[in-house]
């Protein structure tokens, strides 16, 4: 399996650098307290440009999922089925991800999840997967 390596920008780099250190850093609005994911420079709740990178635990629940039985991209050939998931962090925001270490027939909407730091290559690029808690 050869997942696409994420290409951080000046805006998103702290998120990806955090994952390398096994920390989950998410922008939080200092004006209204809202969480902003994916990372941006403005708050999507109140438009303030006053966000601070804030660490979260990664505890989440499964919002929805599908079992992709046909590879969604050539890089995922041989890794089917893919347990594609949307997770809802305890803080309330959603993230697209995949589940690991969970059998396809064991996935249940609402199940408790914990983060898995998945190192993609020798350079240490890391993505955030989830597994059953």
């Amino acid at each position: 399996m050869n997942a696409l390596i994420p290409r951080p920008t000046d805006i998103t780099r702290p998120f990806w650098e955090g994952l390398r250190e096994r920390r989950i850093m998410i922008p939080r609005c200092q004006a209204c307290g809202g969480w902003v994911f994916y990372p941006r420079r403005h708050c999507t709740h109140c438009a303030a440009q006053d966000l601070a990178w804030t660490e979260v635990s990664g505890r989440a629940t499964l919002c929805t999922f599908t079992i992709a039985r046909v590879p969604t991209l050539p890089g995922f050939a041989g890794a089917e089925p893919q347990n594609l998931a949307v997770v809802t962090f305890n803080e309330g925001f959603n993230m697209n991800t995949a589940l690991t270490g969970v059998a396809p027939d064991a996935m249940r909407i609402g199940m408790s999840l914990r983060p898995v730091f998945d190192v993609l290559d020798a350079a240490g690029h890391t993505r955030l997967l989830f597994t059953a808690d």
């Binding site: 997942a3 994420p6 929805t64 999922f65 039985r69 969604t72 993230m95 993609l120 997967l129």
Partner: protein, 403 residues
């Protein structure tokens, strides 16, 4: 302000859907010229009558900017209204109301709306690997800085299948799921296609068992619940009502419209089981002064069976959570009590890119005119037409009535 029936759809043209491998390859400009000619013949108008233009903005083959000017010049047109529409599968619906609004404002009197859907001849100097890679991403952006490139692709979230599947799973969790009822949507539409010789799957009826036994692509969606991409293309002409009365066919008045965009990825929706068509359809019915029960037919965008189910609920044809019972309790074929996608829908007619969404509009026009042949509805004065782009990202609604 409302659309007050001052504009009507007066001409249509549509290529028969074909597999890409055997379809003619034509430049987009040439497809547009050809489809325009056919739509003008259908309307009984001439090129000189056209003074407005709406074309696709995204993926235009021969231009990345100034698309309307390039198209107008190629056709030999001078226009008082020029528009590109980049709303995926709801582009046709969006073009119709934009054209009607421009006509009502007095900017123009006859608007050509066109979406090419055949492949263009390949660029002899293009890198085939780069072309193939771009095709893989489909409606996703792989551009540096694109949120979906950075936060979707590394996990394998790409394309429409898995997005719609995840909406269906969330719906099943909330309201329950009847796989046979969902399959029944595809079966009814395939039945309709048996009365449409233009449909890709004409001559190939299917059963509920065929759908349920077909390959599972992304749970709970089977391959027979997923639209097949084909080569095609379509055009229609919207004209002012006085001009419309001089045309060859019964004018089809645009009486109500609505449009709603809520997100690109449904993962970020407040509630992914409540789709944008809810607001779009509500506005359209309000504008027309009509109700869902007043519709003689529903031509509902159907990239997947789940798209149809959610659209039926959210457009108000049945209550939220009762879609499964609704499709079980009604005959959705052209013979039935709730005629739905009477041309076969895109599931059985074929989906020619964004022109696929124009097939629903053209079927409504064909039925309202009374020229639908074997599948002609007995009552055919009013139609609900919807469009859907992205992954339930953007939806549009039209209320059409015969003059």
């Amino acid at each position: 302000m409302s659309l007050t029936g001052k504009a009507a759809i007066v001409g249509c043209a549509q290529y028969r859907p074909e597999k890409y491998a055997t379809a003619p390859q034509m430049f987009h400009l040439e497809q547009i010229a050809d489809l325009a000619r056919l739509a003008l013949i259908d309307a009984g108008l001439t090129l000189r009558d056209i003074d407005g233009l709406a074309v696709n903005g995204a993926h235009f083959n021969e231009a990345t900017a100034f698309v309307p000017a390039v198209v107008a010049e190629y056709l030999g047109l001078q226009v008082g209204f020029a528009e590109t529409v980049d709303l995926g599968g709801t582009s046709a619906v969006a073009m119709a109301w934009r054209a009607a609004a421009a006509i009502q404002l007095g900017l123009c009197r006859a608007v050509l709306c066109v979406l090419p859907g055949r492949l263009a001849p390949p660029d002899p100097d293009a890198d085939p690997a780069a072309v193939a890679a771009a095709m893989q991403l489909g409606a996703h952006s792989g551009c540096f800085g694109a949120p979906e490139a950075e936060f979707d692709l590394p996990y394998g979230h790409v394309g429409q299948n898995t997005g719609y599947a995840m909406i269906a799973q969330q719906y099943a969790h909330r309201y329950g799921y009847d796989a046979a009822a969902m399959a029944g949507i595809a079966v009814a539409q395939r039945s309709n296609a048996q009365a449409n010789p233009e449909a890709l799957f004409y001559g190939q009826p299917i059963s509920v068992e065929d759908v349920l036994n077909s390959k599972m692509v992304a749970d709970p969606l089977h391959i027979l619940e997923i639209v097949m991409p084909v080569a095609g293309g379509a055009a229609f002409i919207v004209a002012a009502d006085d001009l419309a009365r001089e045309c060859r066919h019964r004018p089809v008045l645009i009486r109500g419209c609505g449009e709603q965009l809520d997100f690109k990825s449904p993962s970020y929706a407040r509630d992914m089981t409540v789709t944008p068509i809810a607001r779009a359809a509500q506005r359209a019915f309000l504008m027309a002064g009509m109700q869902p029960a007043d519709m003689d037919m529903a031509q509902i965008y159907d990239c997947y069976t789940i798209t149809v189910l959610l659209s039926l609920e959210d457009a108000g044809f049945c209550a939220k959570g009762e879609g499964m019972a609704f499709v079980r309790d009604h005959d959705l074929t052209w013979r039935g009590d709730f005629p739905l996608n009477t041309h076969g829908g895109q599931l059985s007619f074929g989906q020619a890119g964004t022109a696929g969404g124009m097939s629903q509009l053209i079927e409504a026009v064909t039925q309202i005119r009374g020229t639908a042949g074997e599948r002609q509805l007995r009552r055919h004065d009013t139609a609900f037409v919807s469009g859907t782009g992205g992954v339930m990202s953007e939806q549009g609604a039209l209320i059409l009535t015969g003059a």
